[in-house]
């Protein structure tokens, strides 16, 4: 168990440095665009130069999340990304193709590795701690979060953890051809500072549990046993943010009421680490304490990520009641 000390997200919504954005967001339409902040005000020029979206977004979110948590150095930096620096990878392939045996510039290759994101963050901060990159399709962010929880158990006081993927138009074209064009192919980055102790000022948001499951056959059974193992009843969950490749076929309505179920991909579009957006969205809702159309306070949110039908990621967050003085 760790506390979420800060959340920062760049998405297709006005989410960056905008507390309370969860009340302002609207479903994406074909004209929606990624809402980049002014990176020149955030990222030192030597880091901004030559960077693609996934690096710029991740670094901007890192800087913001650390500032919000009033923290200079996390003990660990952990990133979940499915496709990593996909645009640099593609750029390097183009260079190979065009080279005809001539020497190629190494820049795109150097920054093509999946761990460029976490590596560039360590360089920016001068951070010598644990630095890890998880890359398991739609479960990349959940596995990064699990790792962050382990680091907390192992004595880390602060962990920077994030999920990021960049939009790649070639991927988008492919999905359209496959008939998966009901979802908007996007990108985004969301970073969090997790701490062993809650902050004194903001509402206390706890990350209770996170888990990833491969080759899932019965989603509702898996969700129920996840909750059961943490002594939670489905009726104690106020809101479920779900992401699904086939939203109309999701099996959660056998456990939860329809009005509790929110398809988060309506707001962030589809990319394989978008459960990190869902977590930033959930943290914002929990900080507000309420959600439109729900007539009760929102204290517990379950994020249910099934962008790939057999791969299930579950994240459980809780707002600690305000009269609760001890921080465990």
């Amino acid at each position: 168990m760790m506390f979420v000390l800060s959340a920062s997200t760049i998405s297709y919504q006005p989410s960056f440095r905008n507390k309370g954005f969860s009340a302002e967001i609207s479903p994406l339409d074909p004209e929606s665009e990624l809402q980049h902040p002014d990176y020149s005000a955030l990222i030192p020029p030597m880091y901004r130069r030559r960077m693609t979206d996934v690096l710029k977004m991740s670094i901007a979110c890192t800087i913001d999340a650390l500032q919000q948590a009033d923290l200079e150095q996390p003990d660990s930096i952990i990133v979940g990304t499915s496709m990593g620096c996909s645009l640099f990878s593609q750029r390097f392939l183009d260079k190979i193709y065009a080279s005809e045996g001539r020497r190629i510039s190494p820049t795109a290759f150097i920054l093509s590795t999946h761990n460029s994101i976490a590596g560039q963050i360590s360089l920016l901060l001068g951070n010598h701690g644990y630095n890890m990159t998880h890359t398991q399709n739609n479960l990349s962010f959940e596995q990064a979060l699990m790792d962050a929880m382990l680091m907390g158990e192992e004595g880390n006081r602060h962990v920077l953890v994030g999920g990021a993927d960049e939009r790649n138009l070639d991927l988008y074209n492919l999905r359209t051809r496959l008939g998966l064009d009901t979802v908007h192919e996007t990108g985004g980055a969301s970073f969090f500072v997790l701490g062993e102790k809650a902050s004194q000022t903001a509402p206390r948001i706890k990350l209770l549990e996170v888990e990833s499951f491969a080759f899932v056959q019965d989603t509702s059974q898996q969700v129920q046993s996840f909750l059961h193992n943490r002594d939670q009843k489905p009726e104690e969950i106020d809101l479920v943010l779900f992401g699904s490749c086939f939203p109309e076929q999701q099996q959660l309505s056998s456990i939860f009421e329809p009005r509790q179920l929110v398809d988060y991909q309506n707001f962030c579009g589809s990319y394989l680490s978008n459960s990190s957006f869902a977590m930033a969205y959930a943290v914002d809702i929990l900080q507000q304490g309420s959600f439109p159309f729900l007539d009760r306070p929102v204290k517990r949110i379950l994020i249910c990520n099934q962008l790939i039908p057999e791969n299930l990621g579950l994240i459980l967050l809780e707002r600690q009641s305000d009269d609760h003085e001890t921080t465990e």
């Binding site: 990878s89 593609q90 392939l93 190629i104 150097i110 999946h114 976490a118 990159t133 398991q136 399709n137």
Partner: protein, 389 residues
């Protein structure tokens, strides 16, 4: 909580399987050869994708070589294990190339034919290569992939150990895989760090690395799992750490700060002093930068009491994400047979340190604790310590 290694699997340029690799190591036989096809010195695995598919009964399909090489090593380590509902089982692989070998093929073909087909990009995922291995072996539950460039294999092993330690898993198959692909061959070429001859780690005349391909997996189990599976412990994984150099995206710092931190913290984790380490399997790629930086880090940790050390990259080539796992298997074999393996092609100590790695296998000795280093792009530095049970 002790974490036992109970299974090993490996495929490299020096052989398929643990026995073949041990034999080549003892005979000082390098697997690196000049490749006419690529005009490079390479540590290639001489198995075609088609023959591996046939062996596993996979319908001839468009599988990534990452999955296929991984399958061979993972199956050997998994051996006769089977699923058991009373044990929480997982697999954590690691790769830097991932599905890139397929992607580049399709991508270049599409360019050639001016096709709009963009199918290839969907195959450049790492997670899918691990899923295929899990599927064939029947492992469910936690299926994960780590990608931290050339330290990936060590980090997958570490991740598995930490999940057992935290009580999340009872046993886990951990390892790393990378095949040769145009992407990484041209990538390292663009960095200008190839040696056109056999690489010479830690030698004054070293001038770069030879690339290789391969895979290795370890089966890690806790006591509960061993009671159920009946497996016996080959050795224990006692220390591990990942630290960051935070110096440059690809180059290592002059004093090897990240490497020294990784070794120091791994020793702390294992509750050992530097003098307890009987052998270090170095990262030792043969590049000017790595070998000097690593030597300075070794000096920081061990001072004048440097244990026997060698790089085995002149046997296998630098196998990138697989290196950490392959060299973990070599370390475990060293513990098992009481031998350290030679650093091939070494003649002259580097001026800055005067360090001489082991160049021939000495008499058998009782090794108690061995340390393996793996470093990657992004300043990613990892050390593992294996100890006799």
């Amino acid at each position: 909580m002790s974490i036992s290694v109970t299974g090993l699997g490996i495929i490299t340029a020096i052989g398929e399987g643990v026995e073949a690799n041990l034999h080549a190591l003892q005979a000082a036989q390098s697997g690196i050869q000049w490749s006419e096809e690529f005009s490079l010195m390479l540590g290639q695995v001489h198995r075609s994708n088609a023959s591996i598919c046939a062996e596993f009964g996979l319908e001839t399909g468009d599988y990534s070589r990452t999955s296929l090489l991984g399958l061979i090593a993972a199956r050997e380590a998994w051996s006769s294990s089977s699923l058991n509902n009373s044990l929480r089982t997982g697999i954590i692989s690691s790769t830097s190339v991932g599905g890139m070998d397929r992607m580049e093929k399709h991508y270049f073909q599409a360019k050639e034919e001016e096709m709009e087909e963009t199918h290839p990009l969907m195959t450049h995922d790492n997670g899918g290569t691990t899923e295929l291995i899990a599927q064939v072996l029947g492992i469910r539950g936690y299926v994960g992939t780590i990608s931290t460039a050339c330290s990936s294999g060590a980090n997958a092993i570490m991740q598995g150990a930490r999940m057992i330690q935290a009580g999340k898993l009872d046993r886990v198959l951990v390892g790393g895989v990378d095949p040769l692909a145009q992407f990484n061959m041209k990538g390292f070429s663009s960095l200008g760090i190839y040696d056109e001859k056999h690489c010479r780690p830690f030698d004054q005349s070293r001038s770069g690395l030879n690339l290789g391909e391969g895979a290795a997996f370890l089966l890690l189990e806790n006591e509960k799992s061993m009671a159920v599976t009946g497996h016996s412990s080959i050795c224990q994984l006692t220390g591990w750490n990942n630290s960051t150099d935070a110096f440059h995206q690809t180059a290592s710092s002059a004093d090897g700060k990240g490497a020294a931190l990784a070794m120091e913290n791994a020793l702390k984790k294992a509750n050992l002093s530097p003098s307890d380490i009987d052998y270090v399997n170095a990262h030792g790629t043969g590049t000017q930068n790595n070998d000097l930086s690593e030597s300075m880090a070794l000096k920081t940790i061990f001072g004048s009491q440097l244990p026997a050390f060698s790089s085995t990259k002149a046997f296998t080539g630098h196998t990138l994400a697989a290196a950490g796992a392959i060299e973990a298997v070599f370390c475990i074999l060293a513990l098992q047979v009481g031998l350290v393996f030679p650093n091939l092609n070494f003649v002259t100590p580097m001026e800055e340190t005067g360090f001489s790695p082991i160049t021939s296998s000495p008499q058998k000795q009782n090794l108690r604790h061995v340390l393996s280093n793996s470093f990657g792009f992004g300043g990613n530095c990892s050390s593992l310590i294996f100890s006799k049970s």
